[in-house]
Symmetry: C2
Subunit: 368 residues, 2 copies
């Protein structure tokens, strides 16, 4: 079975099992508590009904009234500040639902707004996240230099650790701030920040919904908006570092397979060609040339070692996120190109006794 299909099928099975496990655990954790709450609520409703003797219609009317009035508790949800808050929850796909367009015109605009806004936001956060990672990488390198460490390379592990700590830090800062402003417990505020920054946005906890905060507390409103946007950037940076490469895996394999098919085809053709044409072709089998240039451009440290031929080795270079994570190494290594031993010099990796055709010979040897 093709690697890409196998991976996709395993992922689907994985997700379904994950959903089944999740459903079982949520059932076990919540189901009983829910029945308890339900009984309590029915009992209270019974008491109030007996006390005031509602008609069934009046009670239904009262329910509708309370539910519709709920969004208005925060004051005007659709004045400019509220609308800005709503717009953020749309393009980031948080979608608390604390306010939802009530008019059909609002619903239509919301859909058009999301169609352009969501991809734009996605690209913006990934772009900003990547910039953040680049800055962090440079800072870490400088810190390592200042500390006089021998190895100043910033490894992927370093970056992932910093990313993880930044995410935790962002959540904790938010939890502290919102527990102070909203009067929630630290745990509930942390849960709110987590559910917001993962863009799940249940809406069971929503900031700026008390005491007409949207109108009366502009600094807190500004802080909340900035927190959401900065928080999403930090999460975006972490995703850019850890998850983004996995999103392009299948495309990667597709490209590699097509490349291999093409080169095999070329090999087959070469067998039926006259010797002169054959040499010209065999020197240029794409399986070799990319490995050569990959070695030269993206893995200077490996240039002393034989050119990798395993597809995995090729694939990892063609992932831009991988490039990003190693690009900073190239500067250092380029300094060593004058190295007379030629161990770390792309130039001298292909050196032979004769200066002319040295690379030609090397390629021939590999291509056979």
């Amino acid at each position: 079975m093709k690697r890409q299909n196998l991976r996709t099928v395993s992922l689907i099975l994985c997700i379904f099992s994950y959903l089944l496990v999740g459903a079982a655990v949520f059932d076990a954790l919540e189901s009983e508590a829910e029945s308890g709450r339900r009984r309590l609520l029915e009992q209270k409703r019974g008491e109030l009904r007996r006390k005031y003797r509602f008609s069934a219609d009046d009670y239904r009317e009262l329910e509708r009234l309370v539910l519709q009035a709920e969004p208005h508790r925060a004051g005007g949800q659709w004045k400019f500040a509220g609308s800005f808050y709503f717009a953020i929850t749309v393009i980031t796909t948080i979608g608390y639902g604390h306010a939802a367009p009530g008019t059909d015109a609002g619903k239509i605009f919301c859909m058009f707004y999301a169609v352009l806004g969501i991809p734009l936001t996605l690209v913006m956060f990934q772009s900003l996240g990547e910039r953040m990672n680049t800055v962090v990488r440079l800072l870490l390198k400088k810190i390592k230099k200042c500390l006089g460490m021998k190895k100043t390379n910033v490894s992927m592990e370093n970056m992932v650790l910093v990313g993880f700590l930044s995410c935790m830090g962002t959540l904790c800062v938010g939890a502290a701030a919102f527990s102070y402003f909203e009067g929630w417990t630290f745990f509930h505020a942390y849960y709110y920040c987590f559910i917001t920054l993962t863009t799940i946005g249940f809406g069971d906890f929503v900031a700026l919904q008390k005491n007409e905060a949207l109108q009366k507390k502009p600094p807190y409103v500004a802080f909340s908006f900035m927190y959401i946007l900065v928080g999403l950037t930090v999460i975006g940076a972490f995703l850019n570092l850890v998850v983004l490469r996995f999103l392009t895996m299948n495309s990667e394999d597709e490209r590699r397979d097509a490349e291999e098919r093409a080169s095999l085809k070329r090999n087959r053709d070469a067998i039926f060609l006259p010797i002169e044409d054959r040499t010209s072709q065999m020197n240029l089998i794409p399986l070799i040339v990319p490995s050569l240039c990959t070695c030269l451009c993206y893995r200077p440290r490996l240039c002393g070692s034989p050119v990798p031929s395993h597809p995995e080795t090729l694939s990892c270079h063609t992932n831009p996120v991988y490039y990003n994570s190693i690009s900073y190494k190239i500067d250092e290594v380029s300094l060593s190109t004058r190295d007379p031993t030629g161990v770390s010099s792309p130039g001298s990796t292909l050196s032979s006794n004769s200066p002319r055709c040295r690379e030609h010979h090397r390629l021939r040897r590999k291509s056979i």
Copy 2:
């Protein structure tokens, strides 16, 4: 200013302006209707208060009661089917909020569940989306062949059009189904499907919340779950086609810049090197070799034309999503590698009069 920084700054400005415009429009569309609804609700509340003479405390109690009872209207939200529904809304980040964990244990598990589940789901939908695109591409190619069209290549425009139509189709099918099952208008059902499949999930319209559907209508429950998962795959396929490449732009540029810095450094070094070493280095300038192998492997159609040297030309090949969109072309072109003119043959593009060192000379000529 560095291209990546410029792009990121423009994206940030773009998003902020987009938010401002959105806020202004939502304010204009919703603000007045909101005030109207508010007045009406206060009037109704006044009538009921006068009729039943609630004490202020009792009314607050009644409000709390109705709000807390609302999730229970759908029957048990946390039995297995409901928990499965909730688990889907967590890992897909839809997060309607029709049900949210009430216990602290549930909240904690929900957070851990999302941390692993969201990236896994993201990767699964992208992987599945890419597979869908590959199948669609092959189908389109076969259809074009069956129709006896001269050009059987499936262009990016073809794919985007098919992707767009699939998304619209999915939304319309969902709108028809949910308007039938939930008794919503087609427009409201379409709005529900859109808000669900974009993972915004306000929760103002939520399927399976009437007449204890979760317990009493298993086929409808299964349909709803499958609709959400299949719908998200279709959207994922479209994003894989259109948006994914933009997520890796900065990483791309970073890689290219590092590559150029390294090659320039190598050039500089070469000037101070003895002539023999210099030739060995100049043959191997990464700006040339990758363009050469890129040309050979990924742009066979261009092999007759001069090797591209503009960074943009390099960059477009190093984007895996780009590979994916062109990989299928390689099979066709590899058939033409025997072409004696060598115009479309990667092998013969570099042929010269002398069979030995022909590619060495070619590289030399390009590198100077």
